[in-house]
């Protein structure tokens, strides 16, 4: 399954690259990087808050 998921992530990256190429979007990669990092951080915070709220260890 690890390979399948990695393949799906790779396919998404190809879609993103293709979109950036067709739209002449120079800094689209910067946006994707910021977005994934920001939402990773938000997800980590949300996970901690939910764990604290529901007292899950």
């Amino acid at each position: 399954m690890t390979w399948g998921l990695t393949g799906l992530i790779g396919y998404m990256l190809f879609i993103i690259w293709n979109l950036a190429r067709k739209s002449n979007a120079g800094r689209f990669g910067t946006f994707i990087l910021f977005f994934v990092l920001a939402f990773g951080m938000l997800g980590f915070i949300a996970k901690s808050v939910i764990q604290w709220l529901f007292e899950i260890d």
Binding site: M1, T2, L5, L19, A25
Partner: protein, 272 residues
Amino acid sequence: MPAIECEGPLPANAFRIRQLPPGRVLAWLASGWRDMRAIGWPSYLHGLFVCLVGIALALLSLEASLLVLGLASAFVLVGPFLATGLYALSRRRERGSVGGLDIVVLAWRCAGRRLLAFNLLLLGAALAWVAISALLLGLFVNVETTSLPALLRYVLTQDSVHFLQWTVLGSLVAATVFACSVITIPLLMERDVSTRSAILTSVRTVSENPLTMVVWAICIAAATAASLATGMLGFILLYPLIGHASWHAYRDLAEIDDQELPQITDDQFENH
């Protein structure tokens, strides 16, 4: 008037993208708030509708708990197209009058044709995401989960690398859908352009304002999280607020030459 067909984004002489600082997001929210207060119940009705759909989905998730995480994120994917009526109400207010439900019905009736292809794409992405999420959760949650709290407890305490991959994949899907849709629906509603041109123009807009767009996406995510945390009730206020603010984001980001790319007038709207 034929739709502008082109291989790439809209021609530079028809459409100029402004580069704005992240602080502009506050101005969009303030304008959205003023629209919502002035328009009143037709705005809140959109929020109520989304709230009821959210409750229905939550009840469905209680029956099939593996769907819950996918459904929560898919909800965000179809959010922009449900807001079509809110964009039409903001547009009408911009022209000096306050519209009612007739404006919303009109927007759906005529913009519906131009938006159909794009909305089907959003819906397809949302359904694919629900299916992939349910499949992945089914594969990596290898304990018996009889209820939603049990599933959440498992998901929040496991250290599976698959969960990390699922979140990365989810972020990439969300980023792509956000970039493809952030100004697409207001643009398709207001100007006669092809779906492909509108999507590529939206992507170019995002790439010109990467940080501002991430701040805007965080605001939308925070509003969605707050609404989910209040048992969907938050949607009644926050959904119309974000919808109207999205219209102001489009107005602020896109500087469009009316000669090169004429607006669809109210008469053309009604004659569609």
